[in-house]
């Protein structure tokens, strides 16, 4: 049986991690169908049909799907599930919210946040904040799997032409009402997909001081991250949090500034290709994962860093 991929989108276009989830789905079985549920999401459905790994697109439209409420999405997918061996989605807040609701309805034990497809029923996933890897075999007839997007490359986004089939909407779930979404708009790259991430921690001491990070991020074309301590202290908003309960990032370069490196933070960044730590405490655990450690006061080091960057003739973007 084929694999059903749940597309994540904003009604206008696909969210980028749908491409990573599509790669994981295609590693489970080459016959990947994708379902897109939304309102006025035809452009996003078309985009989905152009992914070469997707063989068929199922499009479900309804006003009650506009805000991606899991209580409205789950019944549609549960109904479609009878034709599929696997249901696959990204393990970001969209998929984390939705997939267990589907799995419970299907009476199947979900496998969360996989980082590798070993075989169609066996997966590798991190546990204990990534301090151990577990190989899990699912014995359920239908498998619900969420994938860690940064562990899979995005699939090709053009060249496909899968047929788009309309599917009937389900009834509205009336006990949950969407009120509002506050999205922080920024011209910087998205944290989850950025090539470079510059992150600040408690050592930044204030929200104002984050401008030292912002300047460097702008110079490098980087996204801005933060430790939980910095978010809890109100220096920066929650969507910047990197770690076990925040986002997992795997950039080419991760620069941790004033971050001590609690295991919960390391869980979100230690797979980065190159890690730089700037911290005045030479014993800070962040140095144990850093390729390049600089023991220095960040308030002196960051302006110097900016100066050195300005001296460079070219910077890769």
């Amino acid at each position: 049986m084929a694999v059903l991929l749940i597309a994540e989108h904003n009604n206008k276009e696909l969210r980028p991690f749908t491409l990573n989830a599509a790669t994981a789905a295609s590693q489970i079985d080459s016959d990947v169908h994708a379902v897109i549920i939304g309102q006025n999401s035809v452009d996003a459905a078309k985009q989905l049909s152009e992914l070469p790994v997707v063989k068929k697109v199922l499009s479900v439209e309804g006003a009650h799907y506009e805000n991606f409420t899991a209580e409205n999405f789950a019944p549609v997918i549960v109904k479609l599930a009878e034709n599929y061996s696997h249901i696959v989605c990204s393990a970001n807040t969209f998929g984390k919210n939705l997939m267990p609701r589907i799995a419970a309805h299907l009476d199947t034990s979900q496998v969360s946040d996989i980082i590798k497809v070993i075989s169609p029923d066996t997966f590798l996933r991190p546990i204990y904040a990534g301090n151990a890897f577990a190989t899990i075999k699912s014995n359920d007839a239908k498998k619900c799997v969420t994938i860690r997007p940064t562990s899979f490359d995005p699939c090709e986004s053009t060249g496909g032409s899968a047929p788009i089939e309309k599917v009937d909407a389900s009834e509205e779930f009336s006990n949950t009402k969407f009120i509002k979404r506050e999205e922080i708009k920024s011209d910087r790259p998205e944290l989850g997909t950025a090539r470079i991430v510059v992150s600040g921690g408690r050592g930044m001491q204030s929200g104002d001081n984050f401008k030292l990070i912002t300047e460097i991020a702008d110079k490098l074309g980087a996204a801005i991250g933060a430790s939980r301590a910095a978010v809890d202290a109100g220096y920066i908003s929650n969507d910047h949090q990197v770690g076990q309960t925040g986002k997992v990032v795997v950039p080419d370069l991760y620069i941790a500034v004033g971050i001590s490196g609690a295991i919960q933070h390391l869980a979100g960044m230690k797979e980065s290709k190159v890690i730089v730590a700037i911290n005045k405490d030479g014993e800070a655990p962040i140095f144990s994962v850093a390729d390049y450690g600089l023991e220095a006061d960040l308030f002196e080091a960051l302006p110097q860093f900016m100066e050195e960057l300005n001296k460079l003739n070219t910077i890769q973007k």
Binding site: T69, A70, E71, A74, T93, F94, N97, M99, P100, R101, A103, A104, D107, T108, S109, Q110, V111, S112, D113, I127, Y128, A129, G130, N131, A132, A134, T135, I136, S138, D140, F173, T176, K177, I179, K180, R181, G192, I196, L220, D232, N238, Q244, T245, K247, L253, I263, V274, I275, G282, A290, D291, Y292, G293, L294, A296, Q304, F305, L309, L312, Q316
Partner: protein, 249 residues
């Protein structure tokens, strides 16, 4: 309004876990155990709602082996009124836990069920959503703010793009984020008082729920280690290394 709060006993968040040499799991003998951190936020929020006069009773429930009862006792020490311990040994998957909790909900008839958004041991992030599916209740996951209104909750959720606010009718499930509140510490007199609060013990086998695992854990291993890095003397050297050695800028 009656609030049921589910708590889980896990390896303390400060412990650097060790993988067993035979690859069957992680070492738990002589390792410090605690309540799963966001479950502490769930208890705190329920107690605050009761203190604000908007709830009448807070019941703490845990599902697990004998020692799991410590987490219920801790919940009682910070303000829960009574406890329930569903006893069961062995590995429990979130699906099994949610089925057990469904039975407890049937029996207790709470208006709200709170729990942490994720357990820090298996990092599954499933139980609350599964329970709300089984009950066909609304779910507010990753909650960082809860306003209790008449038979409704307005909940702010932390999502990848920022914040989302939803309104849910009770009965409902809320899974709590670490930023929801600052859990209080139990005072010594309250710890003593908690010893007298009742904890009902229920054998999972009496609930008629199939808790047998559907997943096989074939192997647990250490993640690949990063190779040791170097310390640089100054910022100029750092930038030079990033440019010419790592070639990332």
């Amino acid at each position: 309004m009656k609030i049921l709060v589910a708590v889980k006993r896990v390896i303390d968040y400060n412990v650097q876990i060790r993988v067993k040499e035979d690859g069957t799991g992680v070492v738990t003998d002589n390792v410090k155990m605690s309540t799963n951190p966001p479950d502490d936020n769930a208890i705190e929020e329920a107690v605050k709602i009761k203190e604000a006069g908007k709830a009448t009773e807070v019941v703490a429930v845990t599902v697990g082996e004998e020692k799991a009862q410590e987490t219920v006792r801790k919940a009682l020490a910070v303000g829960a009124d009574r406890g329930i311990h569903v006893k069961v040994d062995g590995i429990l998957e979130p699906l099994a836990v949610s089925k057990i909790l469904q039975k407890i909900v049937d029996k207790e008839k709470p208006d709200l069920v709170f729990m942490g958004k994720q357990a820090i041991d298996d990092d599954c992030n499933q139980t609350g959503q599964m329970l709300s599916a089984l009950l066909n209740w609304p779910q507010a996951t990753f909650a960082s703010k809860i306003d209790v209104k008449d038979n409704k909750l307005e909940v702010t959720r932390e999502i990848d793009e920022g914040l989302e606010t939803i309104e849910i009718n009770v009965p409902a499930i809320v899974t709590c984020d670490l930023r929801l509140n600052e859990p209080r510490y139990a005072s010594l007199p309250n710890i003593m008082k908690a010893k007298k609060k009742p904890i009902e013990e229920i054998a999972a086998s009496d609930l008629g729920v199939d808790v047998s695992p559907r997943l096989e854990q074939l192997k647990v291993e250490e993640p690949p280690k990063r190779k040791a890095g170097i310390k640089v003397a100054n910022v100029a050297e750092l930038v030079q290394k990033l440019k010419n050695e790592a070639k990332v800028i």
